[in-house]
Structures are given as C-alpha cells and as structure tokens.
C-alpha cells in the first residue's frame, strides 16, 4: 500500500498561531493512528496565510498563480485532509472560506476530512457544526463525525480531564485514519480525461 498523503490546511493569521498548533497535533495523531493500522503517511501543511494574496487574486481573476495551483493540486490528490481555521466573528476566518471558494468544486469529493477550529472561548465551539461542516457537505467531502474545537483554556487542561483536548484529538484522528485506511488511494481525472467524443456530444 502506498503512503497515505495527508494535507493539512491551516488558516491561522498570526505566527505562531494556536490554529497551527492544533493542526500539528491533529496531523501527528492521524499519522500515529495510521501507523497503528500499518499505513505510512506523508503530511503536507498548507498555510493559507502564505497564499492569502493569491487567493484574493484568484477570486478576482479566476486563475490560480503557481503556488496556489500547487496547493490545490495537493488537496485534490490527498487521501485525507485536516482543515483548521480560527473562529472570527462567529464564523470561520474569511480567508479560510475564500480559500475553499476558489477550490474546484470536485477537488474534495469523497475525501475524508477532519475539521478543527480554534477560538477564545468554548462558547464558539458549535461554529464547526453550523458554519464549517455545511461547506464541506456542499463539496461532497467525507467529514468525520468528531470535529475538534480548541478554546484558549483547552491548552491549559489536564490530560485526564473528561473529554480533554488530547482525548478529542485522538478520537477524531482515529475516525479519519479509519476512513483513509478503508478506501483506495485518491485518483482524480484531469481536465482532459474523459472528454466525450464529439459524436457522443452531438448525439446527447
């Protein structure tokens, strides 16, 4: 079995960011869970901050400059995706949504996805369910049931607290690893694969 390719989309805007911290925890846990299932993995992190200008440009012009096109290609080819955003003004960071808006609508179809978010207070935790999960549903991604929200306080929690952050990370990672392990490696047709012959276009 080939290595599973995991692409992490991290949309924190500061550096360092707690969003990236959560993203790294999730990626590490997913790699461990895959290893426990006998599957090696490659992790690539896409920092949306570094592509922010290109995301805006593509929103306005319709084409992706090379670094963004490269990140998009990696996402489309990924066997699993970890997507993490800060919560701003009771929704995902605008740049995270913009990054998804310029993604090909078929790029994540069927791809197992683990959703994560960070925020100042646990009162925002349902943003993942009402504002972020529906976006991935629209993209036909296979989002795992457990999403992971990390509030500021979570970073100071005891590991043995009930449903602590490490617990939730592990549980979500196991769900993602199960799905990745259960499906064949992602293969997507290119733009020029499967264009119908003109006789078929005429007949249709």
């Amino acid at each position: 079995m080939s290595k599973a390719s995991i692409v992490v989309v991290s949309s924190g805007v500061s550096q360092p960011s707690s969003t990236r911290l959560l993203a790294d925890r999730l990626a590490e846990a997913v790699s461990d869970e895959l290893a426990a299932r006998g599957r090696e993995s490659d992790v690539r992190v896409v920092e949306v901050r570094e592509l922010a200008h290109e995301v805006v440009n593509m929103t306005l012009t319709g084409y992706a400059a090379a670094p963004l096109a490269d990140a998009q290609a990696a996402l489309a080819a990924a066997d699993g995706v970890i997507a993490v955003t800060p919560v701003f003004t009771s929704g995902p960071a605008g740049i995270f949504k913009s990054f998804l808006d310029v993604l090909d609508t078929a790029a994540l179809a069927g791809t197992p996805v683990l959703l994560g978010a960070t925020g100042g207070t646990p009162r925002h935790s349902l943003v993942l369910e009402y504002a972020i999960r529906p976006v991935f549903t629209y993209l036909h991604a296979d989002a795992v049931p457990t999403s992971v929200f990390a509030a500021t306080d979570d970073w100071a929690q005891d590991a043995d607290d009930a449903r602590s952050l490490p617990d939730r990370v592990r549980r979500a990672a196991a769900e993602l690893a199960d799905r990745i392990a259960a499906r064949p490696p992602t293969r997507r047709p290119g733009r020029y694969d499967g264009v119908p012959d003109f006789e078929d276009l005429l007949g249709g």
Partner: protein, 393 residues
Amino acid sequence: MQFGIFSVGDVTTDPTTGRTPDDTERVRNILTIAEHADAAGLDVFATGEHHNPPFVPSSPTTMLGYLAGRTQHITLSTATTLITTNDPVRLAEEYAMLQVISDGRMDLMMGRGNTGPVYPWFGRDIRQGIPLAIENYALLRRLWTEDVVDWSGKFRTPLQGFTSTPRPLDGVPPFVWHGSIRSPEIAEQAAYYGDGFLHNAIFWPMEHTAAMVSFYRERFEHHGHGRADQAIVGLGGQVFMRPRSQDAWREFLPYFHEAPVYGHGPSMEEFTRETPLTVGSPQQVIDRYGAFWEQVGHYQRQLFLMDHAGLPLKTVLEQIDILATEVVPVLRREAELRRPAGVPANPPTHAEMVAAARAAGQVHTQAVAAADHWTGRAAEDDVEAADAVTVRT
C-alpha cells in the same frame, strides 16, 4: 502568420482624466480603430458581442458590414459570436450576408459568452451552454452547406423546407473559429469539424493555454483533418508599448488598476509575469510573443486587446502604429522562418477554401431558384400559402 486586434468594446472612464465617452462616441471610436488598423497593415480586426453595459458592440454584422465598405485588406472577424443565445438561423443569414458584402474578407469565432443574465434575457438556460453551442452550430453549418434544410432539435423551433439566404459566397461557408478558455468540449468541437481554435489566454497563465491547444491539436488529428501541427490555432494577447519600457509601465499602470476583469486584483508585476500581458518596449513584446510558439507550436493568428480600460482613442491609435510598424513585421518574419513544412502559414482565405472545395468537387454554383410559395399580401394569405405547401408536400 496573421496579427490583429480585437475589441471588447467596454465603455470605461479614463482614470487619468475622469472622462467617460458615451456609447455613440465609443462605437465611432471602434470604427476609427478598425479603419486605422487596416491602414496600418494589420491582418485582422475582430469585435466582441455583448448585450449589457458597459459594453457597446451588440450588433457585430452591422458594424463589420460598414467596415467591409470602409477598409481595404483587413480580415473582419468576431471575438466572439454568441452561438448559445443567438438564433443559428439568424447567424447563418447575417454572416452569409457579411461574407457576400465583404467579398469573403471575413471569418467568425464562436463563443458561449460569460455573462450569466444574457442567457435568460434571450430565453436560454446557462446550464445548457455546451449543448446549446453544439446543437446551434450543427444547425448553422447545415444552413450554410445544404440549400434546403429540414431540421428539428432540442432548443429551437423545427424547420421544414428552410433555405437560408443569401447562399454563402461561391458556395463556400466562412471559416469558423471556436473560442474557449476552460472547456475541452469546445476544443473537441473545433477539432471535430476541422475548424480553428482560438484560446484567449489574456487572463490566464500560458501553461493552461498550452495544455488546451495541445488537446485541440491531438483531437484535430484524431478526427482526420491532418497532422496535429497543421491545426489552425489562434491566441489572444495584450500589450502596452512605449519606446522606453519604464514610460510604458508608468503610463499603463492607472489603466491596469481600473481595468475590468483584473483591476484591483493582482499587481501589474504579478499579472505581467503570469499572463501574456506585456507592458514595455516593442522589443520586449517581440521577445515574449516571439516565444509563445515554443509552447503551442506554430500558430496562425495572434490577436491583441488594445482599446480597453478607458485608454483614450489617440493612445490606442499610437499603440496600433507601434504594433504594426515595429512589432508585427519582425514577428511575422520570424514565424515564417521557423514554420515547419506542411504547416499552414495563415488560416485559410476564402479563395483558398473555394479552390479546395472545387478540387474536391464540392461546390454548388447554381443559384437556389425556387417558386415563392410563402409570401402573401396579408397574414391570412400566409396561412393559405403555408397550407398549400403542406398539401403539395
């Protein structure tokens, strides 16, 4: 190799003066630009077709018919003709009329149009864009190549015993291009018919253009029209030139920032790096455009967008002069020197298509003389006349 200009026909405020031409002035400017391009020795003038402000060219054949009478050598074309929302019967009639009036000094380019509301305004569904382009063009070709057409399809009222007039000049329809930026189905359509394919890459990176053209070339060969490198390819382009590149850069920058489509988006540094937009000296344009063949093979037509973003008429005419005197002669000579054997230098002219059709024994030269069963003096007469025809057939 042909070099020309194409106009989108946008009415845009000149950001350096705050002045906005009205529609009448803009239309007249486009006519002046086309006549100037002819006098300067460019090969092609193509007009867009739009049905919403800030664009004025809604009626291409009226404009091109006038220009046919006013110009001497330039090939008149479109960029593009909306094959989705126009009635293919009207397209067959209008462009055959233009072909006759211009004595074959024209061709046209099919496009689907990228303005969503135009579809419902003309009674169409944008989600049917590709099927409309395919069915309408299939009918258009039959109307040009068959004298009497019986037809029924999904999108238009059926036709019984319909003859499109005037019949094409010398019995040979105009040369047709198909333009598409991202739909391989349209490249496949162009390849199937052996028509030309123009990739208007002005807002896109060249790798994308190269992939699309390569797909068209492969399919052209697959459908039996010749070798892949013999397919007829055109590219869109965009330049602004001054003798000193820093002058060009300084003068064009405010127009770049306000231009429709890319204004307020990427920086001019990014956009000139990623797309064919070249702002600089004529030599820089020669260097850049003289190298595109490396990515798409020898191609037959290069069009430039020159009159847009609020550039004043005087500037546009100067740009045409620089293009025609300093850039095109060099690019034309270089293209001819490296053109591979058997690859056409240019898209086919009317005379060449007539010669080819005659050689293949495919030209019908006799007129379609038919009794007029249809015309009445009043609407009621038409009903009787139609009934009469129905009874007879």
